[in-house]
Amino acid sequence: MNSTLAILAILDGISYAALVFLVSVGLSLIFGVLRVVNVAHGSLYAFGAYLAATFSLAVAPISPWLTYPALLAASIVIGVVCGGFIERFLLRPLSGQEDVLQLLITFAAFMIMDNLQRLIWGVQPIFAAEPLRLLPNVAVFGVSYTSYQVILLPGVALATLLGLRYFLRRTLSGAVILAVTEDREASTAIGIDAKRVYFVTFVIGASLAALGGALASPTTSLVPGMGADMIVLSFAVAATAGLGQIEGTALTALMIGLTRAFVIYLQPEFEVLVPYLLMVLVLLVRPFGLFGAVQVRKI
């Protein structure tokens, strides 16, 4: 493997890791607060991607620059509408019930969304690469790459990481979320409205999944099944990091992204195997994930 390929692999890995991080951190955040693995998370990602494509194809004729706000708008719409619906009408009535029912109702949401997605957007691949084409290429150590993927995506991921840290550790709403994560009963006892916290957290987590999808939409063709692939991948990342670990999720996403990118260049048939093999190995040694036990503080 020559140095050009190595740089290409690193850049591929970083841009991929940025997207995976956005989705995984949403999943991790939701689990940290609600103790639910949201199986529909991948569908929120797929819906985010499809709606973003629809929006940006609609606004591109007016001005191609409008496609950027379109991506953001799509993720918020999906996060609030779909995420809000799932939390309010599916998960909330089940609070206090067995975990398997909560897990399974998000599985039902996954089935429904997967079906709706095919009904609404069809099964033909959709392309909406306008936002990608609009930004110039940059040269990194002599390798030309789209600045959308090596600057914008990692930038958004980094901003999300810092924003979440700031929100959770420096703001009142964040402190309330952390309090509920650490001790649900005690925080309800001191007057925290746990229902509201759950709702807000779920909507944030869902919006992050949708944002991941929206930002991914210019870089890939949208096909059925993209959501089902993404949920296991993001789950692998979140579980490997330790559910509820934000910084850990970022590092794990980077690690998996880079490993995967190198494997693609060296041994392409093992590409899909990498994250799951890593997950098995890590969980066998550290069931609480790589970063799960190190930081006592969850989230």
């Binding site: 599916l90 089940l94 089935m111 009904l119 093992f270 997950m279 098995v280 969980l283 069931p287």
Partner: protein, 318 residues
């Protein structure tokens, strides 16, 4: 205890009789019922683990193991017999279950579920990507096998496989019921309610769970081999996480309190899919999703819980 389960057993007997007789009148039901019975066998395994309070979100790996055992035999050895496929599928799966089980029985709840998922996704990736051996996503065709040396026409074969599935289902159902009422089965249920006490009685909870896990893998393998024969193909999708979710779905749909829940759930699931696919183009997943939501929200004990719930309401409903 035995007095209370009798109505369910009666329903089970009726169900097995119907699946033996009804397809004689409507030939398209032969395959439908065979699928219901085969999947019911897999879901029996999920119900076993649910007794111990553990949800496997990777059980499709055993289903796929059974299916691919039959497929590999056909591809690399050639020929094959239904009895051989079922036996091999079950045994290979049980051995695989023993190996995976040695790791996963150390964990509980979400960690148990996660590790199962991880193992199953590794298997899925291998099936999908080891194109040279597995034909990748296209899967491997499973040619129609013989039964104890006898070959059949496609028309007869659908009945042959139906009755083989029925026999396997009845035996599995009876065996699982016996197991759940046995000391080992009760110990399995004890893991859910008080693992500490079980250890303080001198019993290894991990060992009890490992035995349950192996049986559950064995059932998964048998079901997988049957489905591969019925559908004449094994694809990586058999081991994908959505398949695992489907099995848990069927268990909760039917009700995990009793072994018959597996077949009640499978019947509902496959019938909705069968008729929705025929009459409402491409919406069966949507309909099943809605059914599942309704069941979880309004009848969390599943279909077989409905009767008990109705009975209780009549008893104590003032």
């Amino acid at each position: 205890m035995s007095g209370r389960i009798k109505p369910v057993t009666a329903v089970a007997i009726i169900f097995f009789l119907v699946s033996a007789v009804a397809p004689l009148f409507v030939s398209s039901w032969a395959t439908l019922f065979a699928l219901i019975l085969a999947k019911g066998i897999v879901v029996l395994g999920i119900i076993l683990l649910l007794q111990a309070g553990q949800v496997s979100f990777g059980h499709a790996m055993f289903f796929a193991t059974g299916a691919y055992t039959a497929a590999f035999w056909g591809k690399y050895v050639g020929g094959g017999d239904i009895v051989l496929f079922i036996a091999l599928g079950g045994i290979t799966s049980a051995v695989f279950g023993l190996i995976v089980g040695l790791f996963v029985v150390r964990y509980r709840e979400i960690f148990f579920g996660m590790l199962n998922l991880a193992f199953s996704m590794v298997l899925w990736s291998l099936l999908e990507k080891m194109f040279h051996y597995t034909n990748g996503a296209d899967g491997i065709r499973v040619p129609r096998p013989a039964l104890l040396g006898l070959s059949f026409t496609p028309e007869t074969f659908q009945y042959v496989i139906l009755y083989v599935s029925l026999l396997a289902a009845v035996v599995a159902f009876y065996g699982v019921q016996r197991y759940l009422e046995s000391p080992l089965g009760h110990m399995l249920r004890a893991i859910k309610s008080n693992e500490t006490r079980l250890e303080y009685l001198g019993t290894s909870a991990r060992r009890v769970l490992l035995i349950g896990y192996m049986i559950s893998a064995f059932l998964g393998g048998i079901g997988g081999a049957l489905v591969a024969i019925i559908q004449q193909i094994a694809t990586p999708e058999f081991g994908f996480w959505t398949k695992s979710g489907e099995f848990v779905f069927i268990a909760i749909l039917g009700g995990s309190a009793h072994a018959f829940g597996a077949f009640a759930g499978a019947a509902m699931f496959e019938c909705v899919r069968f008729y929705a696919a025929a009459h409402l183009a491409d919406t069966w997943q949507l309909i099943l999703g809605v059914v599942l939501i309704v069941i979880i929200l309004y009848a969390p004990n599943g279909l077989i819980g409905l009767r008990q719930r109705y009975g209780q309401a009549k008893q104590g409903g003032h």
